[in-house]
Amino acid sequence: MDEHESPELTEDEKRLFANLMPEDLSEILDTGVNRRHFLKLMTLAGGGILAAQSAVAEQLLTRPLTPAPAIEPASVSLDNAVNVSFKVNGTVRKLTVDSRMTLLDALRERLDLTGSKKGCDHGQCGACTVMVNGHRVLSCLTLTASCEGKAVQTIEGLAKNDTLHPMQDAFLKHDGFQCGFCTPGQICSAVAMLDEAKKGQASYVTQNVRQTTGPARLSNEEIRERMSGNICRCGAYPNIVAAIQEVYSGKPVEQVFRSV
């Protein structure tokens, strides 16, 4: 998008900007600025705007921008470029990436799938959990280059059109989040974890690991241990465990937040 195309500020936006940064408004209208650039300036203005608590500001900042198409580095030559072709949520994607690009960055920065979150970028929080070939992994410690021919599933691929995945429904019912930052990772992790349990995989708290037949039985303690790779800074753990227990058992589980 050309940053100098004609202004596309709405009247509300102009008024808000006039209030907050009057000396800049005319210059910006004169030189031309698009909404994206305007929002960038607003973010730079920072705390002041939030403090203004303007309903318009809130609307503005939460209004989705038109989604950017996957950004290809056109003719720019990369020093250590790697061509990768892999499936993301069922669709084949072909990218040319810097060899250093992690799967997390490719999803977020190149494919516009910003559901997977970057919490720590060092394998310590689980916010970036996605499934690769059906297994839950950390996309922050996965090189995109190593994903050639693989199938990646992210939080965006769990719902079928307007029907949420049962795990998503359960997180809603049980209020399995507060700020929501860890939630995509929690949900992807939980979906894959139930699959692992179905295959009979053990955990550190499994009483008898020598018994190898049949699916694993998941007590709340088992769920907590198996989900320990997903940290929730808001501490929504009791609700998360209840949500997972409900999907696992297939029976309604009491909403923990109501019983306290």
């Binding site: 060899s99 970028d121 959990t129 950390l138 410690l141 280059a145 790779g229």
Partner: protein, 335 residues
């Protein structure tokens, strides 16, 4: 991260050759340790050789050789698959527990058996490139020796380095007398007993292991044993899960009536390598499996401890952990 060339290897021979020719190249297996260290600028390879397509992932019974009747697991197999393979769960539940005590579900799905053996210390001074560290930058000094060393060694350290080796899997492998198989560029296979695989820091803390640059870990062999009925991996940490060990104990016993016929004790979180307590094991042989005898063995292990300024607690914690691990082993591995 610094720029590097990414290459996917199609066969072991060419992967080994590529690595051997370039001292600044590294194998990329699960990447869970290497990429983390590259992001921190601790590791600075100019070439990564992705070895994840080479196979070498199978868990199988050993039909011939000295370890006949034991089990072999591929160097490139995933930690999750090793821990959950019926042969391992049935015959080496100690190893299953140790692997499952480490990291998280996601990380174990990525981590490989060979990569796990070669994971580097979590010493915070090693990770922080602005700090002195003889392991990362030989000759710069040891930040932890006079710094914050709560997580560090109580056995076998030197003034050059007081770091501990973080793997849980390897502690069980030490107790089980595992053998590491490696292959070099000439196609030669070498077998390294686990006790000789990792090193004490001495004057060369930059060398974690006796592996030579260019060698590929192809398999880890577990000799047959009679310890599966009575074993336990106890891990004590600052939080209940997803944290490195303060102290861990791999304990296994073979009994005949009330008598102990054979004992294995290895500790994690206390030294630069898995710390096998051979003397204490000998003390237990021929004795009854009582708390008093377990206590005596634990005292014997800890008699050699040399705690640092902030980790004296590991001595008492270690003692109690050994006793509890042995008792739990006697109880069929149930806490």
């Amino acid at each position: 991260m610094r720029p590097f060339t990414y290459t996917r290897a199609n066969d072991a021979t060419s992967a080994i050759k590529l690595l051997t020719e370039n001292p600044n190249a590294r194998f990329l297996a699960g990447g869970t340790n290497l990429l983390d260290l590259m992001k921190e600028d601790v590791e600075r390879p100019n070439t990564l050789i992705d070895i994840s397509d080479l196979g070498l992932a199978e868990v199988k019974s050993i039909a011939n050789g000295v370890n006949k009747g034991g089990v072999s697991m591929g160097g490139l197999g995933k930690n999750t698959d090793a821990a959950n393979h019926p042969l391992i769960r049935q015959h080496y539940p100690l190893l299953t527990q140790a692997i499952l005590a480490g990291a998280s579900g996601q990380l174990r799905n990525m981590a490989t058996n060979g990569g796990n053996l070669l994971q580097r210390t979590r010493c915070p001074y090693f990770y922080e490139v602005s700090m002195p560290c003889n392991k990362r930058a030989p000759g710069t000094g040891c930040g932890a020796r006079e710094g914050i060393n709560r997580m560090h060694a109580i056995f076998g350290w030197s003034d050059q380095c007081v770091a501990v080796y973080p793997s849980d899997m390897a502690v069980a492998l030490a107790a089980l007398d595992a053998v590491v198989h490696v292959r070099n560029a000439a196609g030669q296979e070498r077998q390294i007993p686990i006790a000789d695989f990792h090193r004490l820091p001495g004057n060369q803390p930059e060398k974690d292991t006796n592996l030579v640059h260019g060698e590929l870990i192809t398999a880890i062999e577990l000799p047959p044993n009679r310890l599966a009925d009575k074993s336990y991996y106890l891990k004590v940490r600052d939080r209940a899960s997803y944290a490195f060990a303060l102290v861990s104990v791999a304990a296994a016993l073979e009994t005949e009536g009330a008598m102990i016929k054979q004992a294995r004790i290895a500790m994690g979180g206390v030294a630069h390598k898995p710390w096998r307590a051979l003397k204490a094991e000998q003390l237990l042989v021929g004795k009854e499996a009582t708390e008093a005898n377990f206590n005596q063995a634990a005292e014997a292990v800890m008699a050699d401890a040399k705690p640092l300024a902030h980790n004296a607690f590991k001595v008492e914690l270690g003692k109690r952990s050994i006793v509890l691990a042995l008792q739990t082993a006697m109880n069929g591995g149930k806490l």
